[in-house]
Structures are given as structure tokens and as C-alpha cells.
Symmetry: C2
Subunit: 329 residues, 2 copies
């Protein structure tokens, strides 16, 4: 049995019409490692163009801060405002567990039933580089499908925050109320990427702790150097309750006013342009290096020359020059 | 006026005869960025072969631990044993200050006057990758010139330790006596690379502190997982005094017995083989990527496509595919 993939020509108009099923199939296409699928994916992305623009929001938070509940409540609020919302997950760790593949839709049960929402679980892909490409391309597909907001969730492991920050317009940290006055060991680098810190669980018994945590983070954010892309008062820390659905509208208004200010000042488009150029350059570099491992003849030659070098029969630089000359031919 | 560089054919026999002046000129050749010099350098390295083998020792220590005095005393001791000693420096920071260019020979005054010694200051090269290549190639040149020991010194900034550890047979950390019982914030990763920790300044008033520090480090080293390439008792911490010239012979005996054990068990040759293969693969990857920036036509095309992508006229993946197809032609 062969699984037949749709072609770029079939999928493009259906995606542009906002058909979720076509979008899902297109994302499967960009996730595929097969060379013919890659060619179709590239053709599809080229055909869809870059006209439509969603607000791309990166959301990071360690397990336990209530990220699923937040996305569900925040997503439902956006849908209630008449917006179409796509949720993508970047989870390099899921390669091992395969965990979130089944989990994503059940943990956002209400949102997954909304016709205006689209939830895509993270694929089980081992390599962070691969995750970056498929997510960037999935974002482009969601935009073409006319979604107003694309939420890209990361579990906050290793480099995944940087990766998500590099492909989004706003980067949001979701935190839990801290015990006492200590901050939760947020790495300075991640703090510096944040446009907003949302302290979740500002409800019931935890509310006082949440408010204290908000003021701690607000203090920490004030100590950071002011970035040119920030208006007065940003980055900011605010309390939310995903469970009680409180503070979500205010947080959304903050995100909108920040995005509007950046659009007005040119920061928004400049950042998009830099991100697109960076994506292009990365793809070229990775494509060049991929030749060394993907082409069986080249791979065998690398192996043979490497062994000759390891055994002292050839100098590393001379063997490398020979290999490079062969690649040029 | 043009500076004429020697050719590989001229230099090779002179280097193999151990002529220091030819060695110095050859290192200048491998440091050059010019394409014709690179071709000569590659030809030279190939011609010299990999027959002769020095013991390559990496030495890391932050400023203030007495590294120059140690290299001077340790080098003089080796020369006194009838050995030929080359000293190379890896100092990515010197790109800015240009500092060590004048400094190296004056700070090792006695050693620099020894006919059996060769001291090469670090060049002012900005990029760590470039430093890696020129140092690996300089080591190969020193070996071909018949040096028995090649000492590669690093200031312990950023990634330079890893770089040096990847091109040496033994990696030595030089430390100062610590005040009280606290260790000097050695990063665990660097500790794990060390084959020996030498605590310098074990003389005069500092001797008790130095001995305490040795036992602290010895304790810390015991907590690390045993590596297959280590015999019983290694990695070890020992006291030395570069100033009083004490402990240097014992440290050298330890280095020799460690190297002998590794030779005997096959670890030595295996590590060399892996390093050579790694060097070859790195050269191929860097050579491939260098095409994107060195060839003016390709650079201009990258720039133009990147701008088209940044301005939304082309999708990143499609532009990358186009660029890669052009590179294949």
C-alpha cells in the first residue's frame, strides 16, 4: 500500500480557502523526509506566497505552569473575539517519548472542537534543526490558511526557546507563582527574549503569591537593558488565571498594543524580514551540508577519505581539498 | 614591494631537517588567508606526511596562574633532558589586543634563546575556526620538524579549551592555590577534559595553600566518572612551582607514564585517528560553506535572493532551493 500525497497544485487553493484538512495534509508534507515530498513542499510554500500575515506568538513555559490550560482558555477567548487560532508545538523532547502526539488534542478538548481553531501536535522528530524547519514551514502554511493568530508552544528545554523566538513576533513566558520571593531560576538569556511574562494561577489560594511573583518579575525586567523594539512599559509582567479565565483579555490587549507599536515604528516588518533572510540562509547552509550525508556516493567517498586520514595515509587538509574538488565537479 | 612566499617544494626538506626558520615561514604560510598560499600550505602538509610524532600537550590556565613562567621552566627542563620543544599559543582574544604578538618571546626569555626550542606567538586572527585550523596545521609542521614535545597554550577563554583538547594527546590544567577550601569555579566540562591538574606556586608562603588546593582538586577529580583512557590514579592533581622549578620533573614523569599507558592500550593511536578524521570532516564542511562567502558571484546571488526573501517576493525555502540548484551547476 502506498500513501498518496497531494500535490502542491491540489493543496494550494484549498489551503488559501482556509480548509483545515488541506492544511493538516500540507503540514504532513513539510514534515516528510522524502526528497519528492520536500520538492512538493517547497513548491507549495512558493505557490502560497507570503501575503497573509498572522500574529505569531511564541509561548514558553516549563511543565506544571498550566500551559495547556492557558492555551485552551486563551485560544477560546480569541475564538470568542471572532479570531481564527492555530496552535503548533515545538517539543524536541517528544522524539523520545512520542508523548504529545496523542496528548495535544485531549489536553485542549474545547479548543480542538472549535471550527475556528487548528491544533497540530508536535511530530516525533529527533533533530532540533528538523523541528525548526517543519515549524517555520507549518507557520507559513497556517498564515496562508488565513489564521489570525499562530501560537507556537515550546516546553522550554534547551535551545527551543531561542528557536521559537526567532520565528515569532512576540515571545511570551508563562510562569507559575513562586514560593516566597525567589524567582524561578529563569535563565537571563530567556528573560531577555521575553516580551511579556504571564504569571498563571492568579486565583484562589495562590493569588497573593502570584501577585508577589508578578512584582518580582516586573522588578527583574526593569533591570534589563531597554531594547529598541519596546515601547514604554515593556517587557511587562502581568497576572493571569487560565483556570478562572481572568486576565486573559488584558494580556491580549497588551500583546496587541505592543504589536501595533512595533508595526507603527517599523520594528515588526524589520524583524520579519530578518527572520525570513535568516531562514533562507540557514536552508542554503543546511542544504549544502546535507549533500555530504545524503548522496550515497559522496557519503562513501567521505568515509573512505576519512579512513585514509585516520590511518595516516593522507593529510587531513589535502584529503579535504580533494573532497572539495570532487564536490565541485 | 611583494613579499615572496616559499613554495612547498622548497620548504618541505628544510622543515624535515628541523630548520626553525623554515618552520616559522611555513607557519606564516598556513596562517595566510590568500588562496594561493592556502594551496601551497595544503601541498606542503601533504608532502611532509604524518610519520613523525611529537607528544602534543594542551595547557590551559587563566591569567595570573603563572602560565608563562611555567612554560619557561617546564620547557627548559625538557630541553635539559635533551628534548626539542615547540610552544604554540591559541588565544582568540589576541585578535583585539594584538597583545601576545610582542609578548610571547619576552615572557619566555630563556626558552626563546634555546636552539632546541621554538616559540610561536599567536597570530591576530579574529575567528576561532581560523585559529583552530592554523593551530592544527602548525602542530603538524612542528611534528614534521622533529620536535619531541609540542605545547599548545590556551588562555582558557570560551571554547578554546575544547578546541585545544581536540588536537592534543594530553590536556593539562594549570591552577593557582585557592584561598580557603573553595575551588576556583572550574567548569565541570573543563575538569572532565583534564588529564592532570597542576597547582602552581607551591613555594614559600603559598605552599600550604597549594597543597590544600591539590587535595581539593584530587577529591573533585575522584568524583568524576572513570574514563576508559585513564589508568589507575588518573586524572591526577599535583603541586608544582614554576618559580622554584620544583615538581616539574615529577609532573613530566606522570605525563610520560600516562602517554605510555595509552600507547600500550591503543587509546593514543585511536584518539589521534579520531582527531584526524574530525579535522578532515571539519575542513570539508567549512570549505563547502566558505563558497557562500568567498566567491563574489555566489555572495552577490545570496545577497540578492536574501533581499527578495526579506521583502516577501520569494518564499525562503524556494529561494534556498534555487540557490542550491545554482550551486550544483
Amino acid at each position: 500500500m502506498t500513501v498518496s500525497f497531494d500535490t502542491a497544485a491540489d493543496l494550494a487553493p484549498r489551503i488559501l480557502a482556509g480548509e483545515r484538512r488541506a492544511l493538516a495534509r500540507a503540514i504532513t508534507l513539510v514534515e516528510s523526509g522524502r526528497a519528492d515530498h520536500r520538492a512538493q513542499a517547497t513548491a507549495l510554500l512558493d505557490r502560497l506566497g507570503t501575503e497573509k500575515k498572522a500574529l505569531r506568538i511564541g509561548l514558553s513555559g516549563t511543565p506544571g505552569v498550566g500551559k495547556s490550560t492557558f492555551i485552551e482558555s486563551f485560544g477560546m477567548m480569541l475564538v470568542g473575539l471572532g479570531l481564527r487560532v492555530a496552535v503548533l508545538a515545538v517539543d524536541p523532547s517528544s522524539a523520545r517519548s512520542g508523548g504529545s502526539i496523542l496528548g495535544d488534542k485531549t489536553r485542549m478538548e474545547r479548543l480542538s472542537r472549535e471550527p475556528a481553531a487548528f491544533i497540530r501536535p508536535s511530530p516525533s522528530q529527533a533533530q532540533l534543526g528538523g523541528v525548526a524547519r517543519r515549524t517555520r514551514e507549518a507557520v507559513a502554511l497556517c498564515e496562508a490558511a488565513g489564521f489570525d493568530v499562530v501560537l507556537i508552544e515550546t516546553v522550554g528545554v534547551g535551545q527551543s526557546e531561542t528557536l521559537v523566538a526567532e520565528m515569532t513576533d512576540l515571545f511570551i513566558l508563562l510562569m507559575a507563582p513562586a514560593g516566597g520571593d525567589e524567582l524561578q531560576g529563569v535563565k537571563r538569556g530567556i528573560m531577555e527574549m521575553a516580551d511579556m511574562i504571564l504569571v498563571n494561577k492568579a486565583d484562589g489560594d495562590l493569588k497573593p503569591a502570584a501577585l508577589r511573583t508578578v512584582s518580582d518579575y516586573a522588578g527583574a525586567l526593569r533591570l534589563l537593558r531597554r531594547r529598541p523594539q519596546d515601547p514604554e512599559g515593556f517587557p511587562k509582567a502581568v497576572p493571569v488565571s487560565a483556570l478562572a479565565e481572568e486576565g486573559l483579555k488584558l494580556a491580549w490587549e497588551d500583546m496587541q498594543s505592543l504589536a501595533a507599536w512595533r508595526r507603527d515604528k517599523g520594528h515588526f516588518d524589520r524583524r520579519r524580514a530578518e527572520q525570513a533572510r535568516h531562514w533562507f540562509e540557514t536552508e542554503v547552509r543546511e542544504g549544502l551540508l546535507a549533500r555530504l550525508t545524503q548522496d550515497p556516493a559522496i557519503r562513501a567517498r567521505m568515509q573512505a577519505l576519512g579512513t585514509a586520514v585516520a590511518e595516516g595515509q593522507a593529510a587531513p587538509a589535502a584529503a579535504a581539498a580533494e573532497m572539495l574538488a570532487e564536490l565541485q565537479r
